[in-house]
Amino acid sequence: MSLDTSLDSKHALRAARLTELRRFARRFLRNPLGVLGLVIVLLLLFTAAFAPLLATHDPYLPTLAARLSAPSAEYWFGADELGRDIYSRLVYGSRLTLLIVGLVIVTSAPIGLVIGAISGTAGGWVDAIFMRITDVFLSIPKLLLALAFVAALGPGIFNAALAITLTAWPPYARLARAEALVIRNADFVNAIRLAGASEARIVFFHIIPMCLSSVIVRMTFDMAGIILTAAGLGFIGLGAQPPLPEWGAMISTGRKFIFDQWWVATIPGAAIFIVSLGFNLLGDALRDLLDPHLRQRN
């Protein structure tokens, strides 16, 4: 009997979740800009996954005869200073963009969440120390801090990702702390505490999950920022090193030819712009849907 009711409630729960998901999808589809953002992001994922099939040339192979040739049927977006096809390099570059964004997101969000949740739950001097550290990191512009980090660590794609991570976690810590402060004394948390759960369990199983919807929104926006910072580092010469087709680095080599061969620098920049616009549009749409404060206001 009891088994049946739990099975029933499981079915009911699943059905309810499915309806909720459908409603969510329907509301999302009503926002054309959000859909555009989603399409751009999916396109980026698709390009990265099928890069070898989509590319028309070898992205690394120099063809000196084609040096700096203009966009044509052979070279869709022209060729760079070594005669490499810019289109194929863009296609392969999408992998590097995703690699950096992925590395930064999977490291910075959890670090920030754990620090913030512990800080907010523990309170007292732990909170004071953690929040001072967060403030210090927030008090230097991200790009500059990342730049100083990479300057010390040495250039390269992994060091760039590490440096961006070190600058990207504080907002998550703030977010998780604010959430933790609100719910650490909520009735349900006290109930769990009375039931004998450890503080660690409360942090990991109850406070962090509560932050997830705000974190997802924050992450989507952050991805746009990470792409721009990574491209900035690449442009300065501290990110991915040649011959890797990183978009920021491609702009930096094309910079010398900006007046005579405009396509070398401008086309990779357009790619960065479109991708980061896609993440921003998606983030905007998700925030409108997920942010409980906004939902009440509308």
Binding site: S139, L144, A148, G237, G248, R255, I258, W262, G269, R297
Partner: protein, 345 residues
């Protein structure tokens, strides 16, 4: 029940302590980046090709033979005396370099901020007033593009279109070559210096060089300012006092600007102070594109000579400016908002 002046004094004291701790943390961060992260901090300062004597001298100068906490204490004491180390590319003290490069950055980013405020605030207000109507959508998209565009790329495209193709503005640099060094340096800000000297040719030449980078920085801050103005104004316009003002027959302009915007002004001060800090970041990339002789360009060229003292000095300076902007916005908030004065009691 303590007396009011006493509370005020303790309030200011705690606040100063917080700022001091943040600045100390900033120093700890640059210390960490400069001394602990590199495998060999001496090499990262003097470079691979340094002579052994130079290496040893720097090794002792850095005090690397001492324990870490002592090194840090000495580092902080040096910073307090204004000693940021010596730049190995210009062989001058980093602080002297920073002081000579900072005014150009300050000038450019201030003009950028003025542009951003002059356009961003009205755009944000319009966006909130016509909430979910077409002006709102247009302004939001303009803002989103500003958020998404790599600013250095926009600089290159701008140079190509407005300098090379259309020839509306002057190219990179602060002045045309034959004007450089004509005006005496007073403030280091070229517009002010040339105006003081009465050299209007040079003034207009500088304006023409500054237009593009300043507009780009302005756009960059506009994106943030208009978005924040929108959300603050949306909040204000939904309040009951707005309805009251309308019922009393105030004009729409009076309601929006005279009532709602006035109340929104207080949080906006914070937003503007913060976006000023953001401009310092944007100017690093913009300055390298436009060969602007400011902090950003200084840091950029120091990176290439692996001049860590200069890079960290520049980072520290921008960080300190950031902290002070935050302080300023805190103070302004308290001065402007009577409620936070009440709360402070």
């Amino acid at each position: 029940m303590t007396s009011r002046p006493l509370r005020l004094v303790t309030g200011i004291a705690t606040w100063l302590l917080t700022v001091a701790i943040t600045l100390l943390g900033l120093a700890a961060l640059t210390f960490f980046i400069g001394r602990i992260l590199p495998i060999d901090p001496v090499l990262s300062i003097v470079g691979e090709k340094a002579l052994p004597e130079v290496y040893d001298r720097v090794y002792l100068e850095l005090g690397l033979d001492k324990p870490i906490w002592q090194q840090f204490a000495e580092y902080v004491l040096k910073l307090l005396r204004g000693d940021f180390g010596t730049s190995f590319s210009t062989s001058r003290p980093v602080l002297t370099d920073l002081i000579s490069f900072f005014p150009a950055t300050l000038e450019l980013s201030t003009i950028g901020l003025l542009i951003g405020v002059a356009l961003g605030v009205p755009m944000g207000v319009a966006s909130a007033y016509w909430h979910e109507k077409w002006p709102d959508h247009v302004i939001r998209i303009v803002g989103l593009i500003g958020y998404s565009v790599p600013v250095f790329w926009l600089g290159l495209v701008g140079l190509y279109v407005f300098y090379y193709l259309l020839d509306w503005v002057s190219g990179p640099g602060q002045l045309d070559v034959f004007y450089v060094g004509v005006v005496d340096r007073v403030t280091g800000m070229i517009l002010i210096d040339s105006a003081l000297a009465g050299e209007w040719d040079i003034f207009w030449n500088a304006v023409s060089h500054m237009t593009l980078p300043a507009l780009l920085l302005g756009y960059y801050s506009l994106a943030y300012i208009s978005r924040m103005t929108r959300s603050v104004m949306l909040d204000q316009l939904s309040r009951e006092y707005v309805l009251t003002a309308r019922l009393k027959g105030a004009s729409e302009f009076g309601v929006v600007v005279g009532h709602a915007l006035r109340n929104a002004a207080i949080p906006l001060v914070t937003v503007i102070a913060l976006s000023y800090g953001g401009l310092l970041e944007g100017s690093v990339l913009i300055e390298t594109i436009f060969s602007w002789p400011g902090i950003g360009n200084y840091i950029y060229s120091s990176l290439f000579s692996a001049d860590m003292n200069a890079v960290l000095g520049g980072t520290l300076l921008v960080g300190i400016v950031f902290v002070f902007l935050n302080m300023l916005s805190d103070v302004l908030y308290r001065v402007l908002d009577p409620r936070s004065r009440e709360l402070a009691k």
